[in-house]
């Protein structure tokens, strides 16, 4: 697995999907990132990223026709593939290793 490093936003998306489990579809993922990371996410960027992750074999999708209670709205559910799970572990592990022992001199100055 050579290309298993995830870009930052990709990582956010993957983590959100991992957290949501069976309930991971577009709106839920978008919301999860926005609320947890306090970072605005546009639906367009989300779908573009989902498509890219799918192409890399990290995600698989299931298109669900409207179920009762969804007011006629179709959903595209996302699930992590084994490669996807590995990619998350790999990226986060490297991130931890990089952060280990780093102390920022002045955490207040965010320039």
């Amino acid at each position: 697995m050579a290309a298993s490093f995830l870009a930052e936003f990709e990582l956010y998306v993957m983590l959100a999907i991992a957290r949501l489990g069976d309930d991971a579809y577009g709106a839920a993922v978008r919301n999860e990132i926005e609320e947890r990371a306090d970072r605005p996410v546009s639906i367009g960027a989300l779908y573009a990223t989902l498509h890219r992750l799918g192409n890399k074999g990290l995600l698989e999708f299931e298109e669900a026709d409207p179920a009762p209670g969804q007011r006629g709205r179709p959903r595209k559910y996302c699930r992590l593939t084994p490669d996807g799970r590995y990619a998350i572990e790999h990226s986060t592990a490297k991130l931890h290793r990089m952060m280990d022992g780093v102390a920022l001199a002045d955490p207040g100055n965010r320039r």
């Binding site: 579809y25 577009g26 367009g44 779908y47 989902l50 498509h51 890219r52 709205r73």
Partner: protein, 907 residues
Amino acid sequence: MREHRVPRLSRWLLSITLHVADRRFALADLDEEFERRARRAPADARRWYRGQVARSLIPNMKNRLARVPRTVFGDLVGDIRFALRTLASTPVVGFVTIVSLAVGIAAATSVFTAANAFLMRPVSTSISAPDELVSIYTTAEGGERFGLTSFPDYVDLREQVDAFADTAAVRMGVLQLQSTDNPRRITAEIVTGNYFDMLGIVPPIGRAFAPDESVFGSAERVAVISHHLWQSEFEARPDVVGETITLDGTPFVVIGVAPADLTSRLLALKIAVWVPLGIPGGTYHSNAEELSTRADREHTVVGRLRIGVTAAQAQSQLDVLSARLQQEHGEAWQDERAQPLALALVPASEGTLPPDWLTALAGFSSIVMFAAGLVLLVACFNVAGLFLARAGKRSREMAVRLALGASRRRLVTMLLTESLLLGVLAGVLGVFLSTQAMGWMDSVTLPIGDLSMDFDFSLDRRVLGFGFLLSIATSVVFGLAPALEGSKPSLLPALQGAVTRPSGKRRRLSLRNLLVVGQIAMALVFVVGAGVTLASFDELLEADWGINPERIAMLSRKLPEEITRDATVPYYRDLVERFEALPNVEAAHLATGAEAGAATIDTTAELYVDGYERAEGESLTVPLNSVTPGYMEMLDIQLLRGRTIGPDDVEGAARVAVVTESFAQRFWGDRSPIGEQFGITSLYQMGNPKPMTGVYYEIIGVVADGGYQGFEGGGRMYFWTALYQHPGPRVLMLLKGSQSAEAMVEVLRGEMDPTDFEVAIVTPRTFEDLISFQFGFLVFMGKILAGAGMFGLALATMGIYGTVSFTVNRRTKELAIRQAIGALPGQIVRDVLREGLVLTTWGLVLGLGVVLPLAALLRSEIEGVSPVEPLSTILGAAILLVVAIAAAMVPARRALRLSPVTALRQD
């Protein structure tokens, strides 16, 4: 259930940019969140939604591009990706470009939409084999004037010409719809029973007429209603068939609903109901008598050619029939100049309008199109200026690319891709804006008849194609020059970071200078054009009609049926007296028409004067107005000689007339015509179908010439007779108030007769309103033209400022250096100013050179166009000059205030 609506434009934008595979999911996701947010704060939710869409557009497009297989389009995809990145990095340039181009494209597309709907579109897309359809007209003046056809002629054509598989007759009408909550006058087509079958139109609900349901075949009164009427009157109930609607007081059984896009043949006018022609008892001019009068030409004939028969073959059969009809019905087959009429065929591919209308409308729409095109061109120029400026800033990037081995052609393609992308985005926005604008303009309410006319301005493939072509064309127009200019930087200095042109020699005619000259010229065209348009309409509205219409209102009246011929005059006298007695009424009068085109005067007379030899083909048909005593005084018509219609001019006394100066001049030259007589060989009077003949009138007075016939009428001949000498069944009731016309409108409102469906002026109107109504269309067009002019001027001014100030800005370094080595600030400013002035002067000269001959041409072609206004022209030129000077001065002064060191460090 539609609690909170998602912003429509945003949702649409999102859906067209999303990749198809994601579309429904992403939209559903947003809808779900929107709904949740809207429950808390609807306004915030809408803002949130718009924000989501705005931030999604660029990722969407990148995403779509990423999914295009790279090999297919090779460089193109890369170019588009790069263009998107560039766009995202300079959003302001992108925004300004898209918005200004979109407005220009919207203007041009709107004009095209109207022209398309008016001139080119068939009555419905559901017509089968539209190529086989033809229109057949009865033409006059050697085929120059295309007119309607009489019903007996249609019957002969149907029976004697076998070139057609089928022919149908149709006429337009206005019917009174009785409705509990919204009684109104609606547009109708009265058709032969085979009309729908002949067109091949099958109603989506119910059925069409059967061939035997018209022309006295069936006893049932049936109607096909429009999709719109079905929605407004029957809540779109699918079981509408069998219901009744009441038209002109008579119930009709609804048998079907027409396809939604079926319009009239004229100007894409929407039709509310179709009823068969000649049903028993007669409806709206289709009783037995009217349908058997050969001179009563009221029908359009539509036919379908037999398979294998060409239009030319059908026409030659029509020629045979025309010749026969001319022989058999001599007088009914001649025009007013005694020239024979003929039947002429026009293929459906040439539109559904008579060709002479088509020519007139096409001429008019091309003027408006020219104005819209000019606005678009200015927008292109502005954007070109913007891109040229950016090309200067990007010369280093271009130089690097060239140095790395990119061909110039490759660079031009890359830069053009950028402009194409912007152009197409602008096109999408422009077409959308245009549909919104047309939505506001698709309904006009006529004051005469209180009829709401709705036009079908829906988008079709032709309009979309036009918008698309336009965006491609604009992209090339604004993109090509900057692309060519931008792709040829001098390598070395550009790589070193120099932005200004290296060599000392500046080309006199650089692209940028040309741009400034062009923009100034176009701005001047707008100033002069808007000035001329506004002046022309002012003149038109304030034209001297020869009457004073102030404080007068009018309403049509029909004589009650129980009033006999002998009782008519006393009835009218009572009516006048009753109104004169009312408070605030200064004068009350009856007339058969109203001057200055306020009410169409249907009353015309064919004159005969003893001893006057009529020239070959000379028409002596003159309009007249039969009025009560004092009417002419009420309108302040200027009496030159003799007297006006007086109280003694009654039945039994000698018939009298007051004529205009031109009238008198024509027959009696400079002699006094008082006491002279003229005869009338036929008099067609409103509501009185039988002509009066052999009546002589004695001239009792002469009045000054005036625009009595209104705007349409060309001639100055006109005369007045005494209503009480020959009262007709239809009159106008005119009241002059002591305070205002509006008060008189209120008085007349009580006199409206809701059961009379044939009156001309259904609800009371002021005289002045009715005069200006004849210009309604022109004034409307004038406003559009003037608006286009103002808008174009604003755009051009912005463009001039931008381009000039940019040019000077680029010289900041040079100016600072010159000052540092001892040039006097005054000298430098003079230098910069001189350059600006030279360009402005060239622009003004060029602009005048274009606009003056153009204005002269318009003036010679169209009556009533004012000469070029020197004041507005000079003012406009002065404004442009000031703008150009300011644009040069502001950056020049800034440059002079900089220290040379800072200036040199700038790039």
